[in-house]
Every structure is written in structure tokens, then in C-alpha cells.
Amino acid sequence: MLDKIGIAKRIAQEVKNGMYINLGIGIPTLVANYIPKNINVVLQSENGLLGIGPFPKENEVDADLINAGKQTVTMMPGSALFSSADSFGMIRSGKVDLTILGAMEVSENGDIANWKVPGKMVKGMGGAMDLVASAKNIIVAMQHCSKDGASKLLTKCTLPITGLKCVKKIVSDMAVLDILPQGGFKLLERAPGVSVEQIKNATQGKLIIEGEISEMNI
């Protein structure tokens, strides 16, 4: 089983040179730490920054410079600043190559639920609905099962939907899976120490297994 850092490290392997990437709050934010130095990417923050740098040193902290998680950040050489309207303009027009975000549930046809739990205080969808509606490529970082063992990879989402047919790949604590265009979770890799059988038991939606499933290399 992978911990959060393991999931982030595995997702970092999906990052290709020259990509513009939007990282959601939580595990996705951690991905930035594991992108190899020889790969040039630009991180987009939907509150109006292209070229997010590392978190600041004490003397670099600037209240006017935060990411979408409201954390203080720095800028990289070549950064650009813009308004929220321009930011979502570039998101909607497909200029962001890769979007990485968390999910509470994903369905076998790529629907995602990650903003609302009935009965709990609803904090809002923030930019998630805009991102999932427009992203060219979405990778979801998530736990395969809830704390009580229920699968979060489902035939159909039970929670209110954030977006339809948008997730392309899932990296969970147990596996890497593609979501096929015709529907279904195609198992690609197992987490270290996790068996195909365990993944089968943990996946409620349609799981597709073809040939030998190798263990992740992280």
C-alpha cells in the first residue's frame, strides 16, 4: 500500500517535459516535490499564477503571493500573473495539459465526485467543476477504499457529481488504473505488496485485468 507520498511519487512519473500542470489541494500539491529536475514543467495556480515556485523561506514570505490552497508560495523565473477570469479562460480553452486532483469517488465511466457529502457542511466546489469540465487529461489521486473498507471506484458515483466522464487515470494507494473510453477501470500496476486479488476485492466498478500486472516502480 502506498502512503500519500508514495501516491505523489507515482503520479510524478506521469509528468512529461513541457507540460503546463494544475495541481489540486492535498496529495496533488505534493507531486511537485517529486518531478525530476531534468523535466521542465510550469505549474498553474487557478488564483492567477503560472510558474509556481517552492514554498518561501522565512524572509521571502509575501502575503500577495499564494496558491489555490492559500499557502504562501514563490514565483519561478518566467512566471506570469493574471486575473481569475483569465486563469479559468486558459483552463476552459484546454491550455493546461494535465490536471491532478483528489476524489472521494470515481465511476467506471470517469465521473468524479469530490465536492460534497450529503449531511455535512458544504464548503463549495471552488474551481474543481471548471477544471474537470475542461481538462484535457485528468489524473486522480485517491484512496482506493474508505476507512470502513468500502470501494471508492464504483459502477456509479453515489455522492453528488463534480463532473462527467472526465477522469483518465487513477493513482490510488493500491493501484494505477486507466479509465477506458468505453468504460471500465483497466488495471495497470499494483502498489508494492498489494495483490491483484486485493485490488479486485477493493474495486466495486468494472475492473479489467489483462495479462501480468507488474508492481509499481517508485
Binding site: 523561506k57 500577495d64 499564494i66 508560495v73 481569475s84 479559468f88 476552459r92 471552488g126 467543476m129
Partner: protein, 232 residues
Amino acid sequence: MIDKRVKDADEAVRDIADNSTLMIGGFGLCGIPENTISALLKKGVKGLTCISNNAGVDDFGIGLLLKTRQVKKMISSYVGENEEFERQLLHGELEVELIPQGTLAERCRAGGAGIPAFFTPAGVGTEVAEGKETRVFNGKTYLMEQWLRADFSIVKAWKGDHSGNLMYRGTARNFNPMMATAGSITIAEVEELVPVGELNPNEIHTPGIFVHRIFQGKNYEKRIEQRTLTKI
């Protein structure tokens, strides 16, 4: 040159009446109009509808106006980080309308650009789409969303000149430029107010035509919500 200066925040909010609709710039606590929020608190105007991406925290930003029960309704994309907000909402003392962040930004932009409605993919198939017209363009489904406008837009900029031209700094720009365009009256507070001619016309983010009142704010706290440092 048309002089838009007012003395201070109190003068800027002089005619904001109960039950007004306000747009308030900022993302989290970044780029919020601190002085004008304080003046609204002092004035005690009630029944406000606030269009703002977030609702501040318990003791800062719009959170201050929530505590004094001056806000009737919030129109936002994300309203976490605020216990008083949660309490009022659960007790039915506060209305909330949640809008996807990009749609909120674009609806404000549309309000200031004379575009009464537009189509966006955000929210298709979700509860956001309930009751809204959908339409397919190039095989993809979109929702029709309408403009947002406000009686007063309240924005915070870094520098401004006497005629209302504004420049923002860093990610404190966020919703401020669109909101500045969408108010019947737009109030701008700035960290540095300079005479006309001192800003480079190429570098102005909000042209003064959109701004009706401008003043230099003071004692900016610029509170940080998540002070996150690099680990070295």
C-alpha cells in the same frame, strides 16, 4: 483627468444602503479591501448580499461582517475556514449560493463587459446545472450562465492614481479586475495613491473609467491564511 479621490473608506461607503448587493474582491484573505470592510462594519449597514469568492475567516475579512449579522446572502465558490459562517448556515440565518470558481469569475467579467449570458462547460451533469439551459456546441454540452452585477463593487489594488487607474500585485489581483468592471459604483482602495501620469499606461490593469471612488488605505494587515515555508 477626472478626479475620483475620496477622503477615506467612510466617505467611500457613505451611500451604501441596507440590502445592497456588493462585489468584494480577493481570494481567501489575499487582495481583500480591508479598509472598506472595516468602514462597512462601522457603518452597520445590514441585509447585504456579498458576491465574493470566499467568506473570510472568523475574525478577518468578510468574516467580520458575518459575525455582526450584516450579511444576508453569500454568493461564493468556497466558504470553508469560517466557524461562524457554518453556524449561521446550519441555523438558516444565512443564505448561500455556491458557484464554480471559473463561472463566478466569468459571470463578473460578463457583467462588466455587457454580456448578459454565455455558455460554459463547468457544472454540466451536476446540481449546478439544475434549472439551467444546456446546449451542445461541437459535440460538447455547455450550460448557459448569466452575468453578475453589483450595486457597489469594492476592490483592493496595489497602486492607483487620482483618476482611478489601478495596478494589482502578485496573486492579490484574482477577482478584483472583473469585479471592478461590474459595479454600478466601484470603490477602490489602494496601498499607494499617486498623481495622474505616474503610472505607466501600458501597465495599468483596471482603467479608471471603471472606478468611481478611490482612496489610499491604511494599516494593512495583509493576514496570511496558510503560512507555508520551504523545508531546508
